[in-house]
């Protein structure tokens, strides 16, 4: 099984990788840290599962690159491009945010998940709330990798 982690937060990325590797035997894990590298990995590597962050830089942040525009809904952008390009994978949104947007446009993670499920029914499989100081999310990741319903 191929698992792609698209995540720009180093700590979260490391924890996700550890959780994935601890869960499944023989799993191949690849990391991407931006919208662009995520799209490239999706296209070239064709993962089975994608653990996708929502807010992403456009390009990888490096010593010489600030990463371009920050995409508040970069995860949705990835899903949209997957849909347009016919890329198939089981995508789980793994986010540290419990809500998105401000004021009257604020949406809970659940509402966002429902919206994504309805917009990207072929690929989107659910949301996982991540918190660095908690471990519930590991159970969710485990379930996601084992193909359980979210």
């Amino acid at each position: 099984m191929r698992v792609l982690i698209v995540e720009d937060d180093p700590n979260k990325r490391r924890q996700l990788r550890q959780a994935v590797e601890a869960t499944a035997q023989g799993v191949a894990v690849r990391e991407a840290t931006s919208y662009r590298s995520g799209m490239v990995a999706l296209d070239e590597w064709r993962p089975d599962i994608v653990l996708l962050d929502m807010t992403l830089p456009t390009f990888d942040v490096t010593a010489t690159d600030s990463g371009g525009r920050t995409r508040i809904f970069g995860g949705r952008d990835v899903l949209l491009e997957m849909q347009r390009n016919g890329l198939k994978a089981r995508v789980f949104l793994v986010t540290q945010f419990e809500s998105f947007g401000e004021g009257s446009k604020r949406r809970t993670l659940k509402e966002l998940g429902e919206e994504l499920a309805s917009t990207f029914p072929d690929v989107f499989r659910g949301t996982i709330y991540y918190h660095p100081a908690q471990s519930d999310w590991k159970v969710e990741v485990d379930r996601a990798l084992r193909g359980g319903a979210q």
């Binding site: 979260k12 662009r36 456009t58 419990e98």
Partner: protein, 1177 residues
């Protein structure tokens, strides 16, 4: 006094015959009945309002007779006409026992009857009104005033007269005079209705108040009248009273209410309102379904007076035989010139007539249309009002850039001139271009001055249209325009037709033929004709624009969306505001696939972009990107910059596509760009293509290239400053050693020579054949000498190494610690790390007064006090923790370990064994430089080892400390329930990622710097980079005025020093100016070979300049001291560091730093020999 609408007859009418209408329709009894009616009205206790309301429903003729009869009775006459010509004092006072409101038919019936009854005086007022307005438009204010006085002195006051007087004063003497007059009028007017109306008139005359804002003000005022929502009809009526021309949605009840609300006002006000109401009813037939009855009202209205404003009503309804005024005749003859293509003559004649009649918008429109065909510049009207109107109207009619703004200006102007005939015309003219509704066309006709054959499209049925044209042909025989339209619907004599086809420009003729074909159902032929026009006409002309619009609409209607898209995009790029938002959205929303041609792809992308901007105000790149990709694929390229513009037949569209649609935020959806630099380079490459393709705007594209190139340069410089901040001036160390190095090397060389001798002897004596006693003795002696020699050599080496090491790490001028202090510990580290949390409003700064952290002004501000207090305590605790972590890094990590400070990642302690190992490994050294090189290599190697550990600690331990602090804050915030909690949790989550990225960047500071690799740089770029660094580390709103004379390119080796100088000067302003957003100026001048850097900021008025001058002197002394102080301590001004940079890093002993405090400013000047900066030019 306002009356509620009565649904049932009042009780005291019970004795009156059941139906007043029936009662009055018995012709033979009419005189007796009129007398009876008068008696009933005069009877004590009579319900006069009800009786008058009943009268409103009478057939018009009988009502007219009744009013004439009532005029005989003074008391009753006061009820019906007593307030028609009031004084200012009585204007708006409710008539005693005024009538009750009925429906629209009744109200129109009544008001027209009253106007007919008072037609003699009213006619004269209207005549004077027309003359007054013409004088006003022409700027003859004195004469205009006389006319107005003639009205008010002869016929009393009216709302119209008051508004006109205010406008006159405004135009003649300005706003202050208008306000003064307004106060005087309000002092005299007593009726509340009048006072309210005049107050709002005063507001409306102010230029800055828009129609929409004014309407909102009116509504707000109405809400203050009562706690309960006011009656919608009443609201509508008041809006009508105060803001008639700008109302867009109508209802019959509201209009009836408006007419009745006007009852206490002057007859001329009621007449003018009725005129506007009738126009609305004719333009919106659904409001008044009984067409015959409405036309009856119009005919009677037209009979009231030969008022020119009513002429178009008569023409439209063919009420009688409308007279042709001389002005109308001249307008139609100019229109005919335009029709036959005499464009220069048309514009010239328009200008001549506009100077006499600036309010005739038909002329302004003809001027704009004809001008679009003129190659040479056309002469403009001299009249200021006409000039303004033609300018704005030209922009809107031709759909040029800024058309929306021009429409607003026209509406605003119309709003200002609302009391005059020009008001309604301008408001109608300001209607969104592209509006094609019959209502809009009809209204345009009704408010106009002269009939036009183009108005035939107002008539929905061919019979009415033909009747209209026939009427025009009677009024204007031989008019080319009328003949042109007539030719489309009927068979004209061959000679006439020949004349038309020979004289009317082909494009225009075909355009109208196409219209006729479309009306006749032959859309295919219509489209063919229009395509011909679009291809053959120049794209600057109105004919091309009109034909394109028609073609686009026909293509849409016939389902040929792709062609419609192509035509629409061409329209947009040539006439940006010719298409309505609705049309843009409709085309852009059509499913694009599969688009047939490259032009179609490009056109679709353009329309999508424009539609998004027009309807949402922002771009949605996610939708735009596929359209761009489609276009690029159609071109057969992956990148927009690869398009070959020479192969394109639609250059204007391509220019828009490349220049505007291919924005960075749309392109960055492509994975073709590997990083942000690649993307930025693509935009620059696109600009280069545009430079070739779009010669007219070459300078704008060059400017974009410069801007982007400079931004990239600034980023590179900031990055160069960021990637490494670790530095030791080894050249300085070398210079400072002097003879010490040479002496040490000499002694070591001698020792080395002896060593080699002894080793040789020792080896010889150690051979097996040398076993005699004497040999053994000699061997022992040699060994002893060898050991002593080595010991001596090691001592020399150790002393020299320690000396160099001390300079390497601790020299104020050259050493590592001073650079760590200047570049990292002095504000930079704290600024960067704190900045991450400050940007998310998670930390505050300490108050200077009590040392406590300031209250957080972003979160929990509106929450209950206890929640706010708890949250602030948590956030203050987090601020303290962040500062504590930063202090720990500064004090315990980024320090050189020593006996007095046993902490720090920089450990340069060498044990004797370490040194001996180094000494023993020394290779033969040819000179003292080699010896120094070996020692410096060792020190750099140790530095790198320390840096490796520090970098690792920053990205792991330090990151972990911040993570734990954020987790604790997160847990605390979760314990507080409040609307802000979720937002704070989001800010915490965002900070987690950001602080890790920031720490990765901070870790890069601790790389070893190789200044020799730095590229040469522009001084201006370095200053911008320094400003960027200050913004990032201290205040992202800091925006000093930068003024650098000339362009100066300097060697890369001086970059860090220049950045440091600028940073210290700018940072001092931000940190010590005492203002949250300091006003500052940073200038650089090259004077007599010396670079003068001047940083100046305003100082708050509360600051004691004398005391500050003393501070300035101290700073000056600190920066100028030969032995700099404080270069390794942090927290002060950094001026000691400034002096160190100038004198030691730049080796510029004759640099000067001066501080001047005067006239509310604090100014620091740094004066450096330009040559010390490695100036290239």
């Amino acid at each position: 006094m306002l009356h509620a609408r009565r649904q049932e007859p009042p009780p005291d009418l019970a004795g009156v015959p059941a139906c007043a209408v029936c009662w009055m329709t018995v012709t033979g009894r009419a005189p007796r009945i009129r007398a009876e009616w008068a008696r009933r009205l005069l009877r004590r206790g009579a319900n006069r309002p009800a009786l008058l309301a009943e009268a409103k429903e009478l057939p018009p003729q009988q009502l007219q007779q009744l009013l004439q009869h009532l005029d005989q009775f003074g008391q009753i006459a006061a009820l019906t006409s007593g307030g028609h010509f009031p004084s200012l004092e009585t204007l708006g006072q409710a008539l005693p026992d005024g009538s009750l409101r009925t429906d629209l038919n009744g109200e129109l019936n009544w008001v027209i009857a009253l106007a007919l009854n008072g037609r003699a005086k009213l006619g004269r007022i209207l005549e004077l009104k027309s003359e007054f307005e013409t004088l006003l438009f022409c700027g003859s204010f004195v004469e205009a005033r006389a006319k107005l006085q003639a009205v008010t002195e002869g016929y009393g006051y009216s709302l119209w007269a008051v508004e006109s007087e205010l406008l006159l004063v405004e135009l003649e003497q300005g706003a202050a005079a208008r306000q003064q007059l307004l106060a005087e009028i309000l002092g005299r007017a007593s009726a509340s209705l009048t006072r309210v109306a005049i107050t709002f008139v005063g507001m409306r005359l102010r230029e800055e108040v828009s129609a929409a804002q004014f309407d909102r003000d009116v509504l707000a005022f109405l809400k203050t009248l009562s706690d309960t929502p006011p009656d919608p009809d009443f609201v509508f009526a008041v809006r009508s009273l105060l803001n008639f021309p700008s109302i867009q949605e109508w209802d019959a009840e509201g209009l009836a209410y408006a007419i009745s609300l006007y009852e206490p006002l002057a007859l001329v006000d009621r007449y003018l309102l009725s005129l506007q109401v009738l126009r609305v009813l004719l333009a919106h037939p659904q409001l008044y379904p009984n067409r015959a009855q409405l036309l009856g009202h119009v005919r009677r209205f037209v009979d009231i007076a030969p008022y020119e404003e009513a002429l178009q009503l008569a023409r439209f309804t063919r009420a009688g035989s409308p007279k042709v005024s001389p002005l109308q005749d001249r307008i139609v003859s100019i229109a005919d010139l335009y029709t036959v293509g005499q464009y220069e003559t048309t514009t010239r004649k328009c200008v001549a007539l506009l100077d006499e009649a600036p309010d005739v918008l038909e002329l302004a429109e003809l001027y704009a249309r004809a001008g679009s065909f003129c190659v040479a510049a056309v002469v403009a009207p001299a009249n200021r009002l006409a000039l303004e109107i033609t300018r704005q109207l030209t922009t809107t009619i031709l759909g040029l850039s800024g058309a929306a703004l021009a429409s607003q200006r026209l509406a605003s102007l119309g709003y200002r001139y609302r009391a005059t005939r020009l008001g309604a015309r301008l408001v109608v003219a300001a209607t969104e271009p592209g509006t094609t509704s019959a209502a809009a066309r009809t209204m345009r006709f009704l408010v106009g001055t002269a009939p036009s054959a183009w108005s035939v499209s107002c008539f929905q049925d061919s019979r009415s249209a033909k009747a209209f044209l026939d009427d025009l042909r009677t009024s204007f025989p031989n008019s080319a325009s009328t003949l042109l339209f007539a030719s489309l619907g009927e068979t004209l004599p061959a000679t006439t037709l020949h004349w038309l086809t020979s004289n009317v420009p082909a494009g225009r003729y075909k355009k109208y033929q196409a219209l006729a074909r479309e009306r006749g159902g032959d859309v295919t032929e219509a489209i063919r004709l229009l395509r011909d026009v679009v291809v053959s006409e120049p794209q600057t002309t109105i004919t091309w624009m009109d034909a394109s619009l028609q073609l686009m609409r026909m293509l849409r209607a016939t389902g040929d969306v792709q062609d419609a898209v192509v035509v629409a995009a061409a329209l947009y790029v040539h006439k940006p505001e010719s298409l309505s938002r609705a049309e843009l959205s409709a085309l852009a929303s059509v499913a694009p696939a599969p688009l047939a041609t490259t032009e179609c792809h490009v056109s679709y992308a353009i329309l999508l972009y424009v539609s998004q901007k027009a309807t949402r105000g922002t771009l949605d790149p996610s939708e735009l990107f596929p359209a761009i990709v489609g276009a690029l694929r159609a071109f057969g390229v992956r990148r927009a910059s690869q398009i070959d513009p020479t192969l394109v037949t639609f250059p204007k569209q391509l220019i828009f596509f490349l220049g505007t649609v291919c924005a960075s935020e749309a392109l960055d959806w492509s994975t073709d760009f590997v990083d942000s630099h690649d993307l930025e380079n693509e935009r620059i490459e696109i600009c280069r293509v545009l430079q070739r393709l779009d010669g007219d705007n070459s300078s704008a594209h060059a400017e974009e290239i410069d801007r982007r190139t400079k931004a990239a340069a600034i980023r590179r410089v900031m990055q160069a400053a960021t990637v490494s901040k670790v530095y030791v001036d080894t050249d300085g160390i070398r210079r400072s050693l002097g003879p010490e190095l040479a002496d040490g090397f000499h002694e070591l060389s001698q020792v080395g020579s002896l060593e080699r001798t002894f080793v040789t002897v020792f080896k010889e004596l150690s051979k097996p054949h040398s076993t005699t006693l004497s040999a053994v003795d000699r061997l022992l002696a040699a060994e002893n000498r060898l050991v002593r020699t080595i010991a001596r050599g090691f001592t020399v080496f150790q002393d020299l190494f320690e000396s160099i090491k001390h300079r390497f790490i601790a020299s104020d001028e050259y050493g590592l610690d001073s650079y760590l202090s200047v570049r990292i510990r002095h504000g930079t580290l704290a600024g960067y790390l704190r900045g991450t949390f400050e940007r998310r409003d998670l930390v505050t700064r300490k108050s200077g007064e009590d040392g406590n952290y300031n209250l957080n002004e972003r979160w929990f501000v509106d929450e209950p006090a206890d929640i706010s207090a708890r949250a602030n305590k948590l956030l203050a605790g987090f601020s303290g923790r962040v500062d504590q972590i930063i202090e720990q890094v500064k004090d315990s990590w980024v320090q050189i370990r020593s006996d007095s400070r046993p902490v720090g990642f920089f450990d340069f302690a060498y044990s004797a064994a370490d040194l001996r190992r180094i000494y023993m490994a020394l290779p033969p050294l040819p000179d003292e430089e080699s010896l120094l090189g070996v020692m410096l290599d060792e020190l750099w190697s140790r530095t790198e080892a320390c840096l490796t550990k520090l970098r690792a600690a920053i990205t792991t331990e330090l990151a972990e400390e911040f993570m734990v602090a954020l987790d604790d804050l997160d847990a605390g915030i979760r314990g507080i329930s409040g609307p802000a909690s979720l937002s704070v949790l989001n800010a915490i989550a965002t900070s987690r990622t950001e602080i890790q990225n920031e720490l990765s960047m901070v870790a890069m500071w601790f790389d070893i710097n190789d200044v020799s690799g730095l590229a040469d740089y522009d001084l201006g770029v370095a200053v911008d980079a320094a400003v960027g660094m200050v913004r990032r580390s201290h205040n992202d709103r800091f925006d000093p005025e930068i003024d650098i004379s000339g362009t100066h390119v300097l060697r890369g080796s001086s970059l860090h020093q220049v950045l440091d100088i600028c940073f210290i000067l700018l940072e001092n302003i931000v940190r010590h100016s005492g203002q949250p957003n300091p006003v500052a100026r940073f200038s650089i001048r090259l004077v007599d070979g010396r670079l003068r850097i001047i940083a100046r900021n305003q100082i708050p008025v509360v600051v004691d300049e004398m005391a500050l001058s003393e501070v300035g002197r101290q700073l000056e002394a600190r920066a100028s001291a030969p032995l700099p102080e404080g270069v390794k301590t942090e927290g002060g001004s950094g001026y000691g560091k400034l002096g160190k940079i100038l004198r030691h890093d730049l080796q510029s002993v004759d640099s000067r730093v001066s501080v001047v405090v005067a006239d509310g400013t604090f100014q620091v000047t740094v004066d450096i020999p330009f040559s010390r900066l490695g100036a290239l030019h």
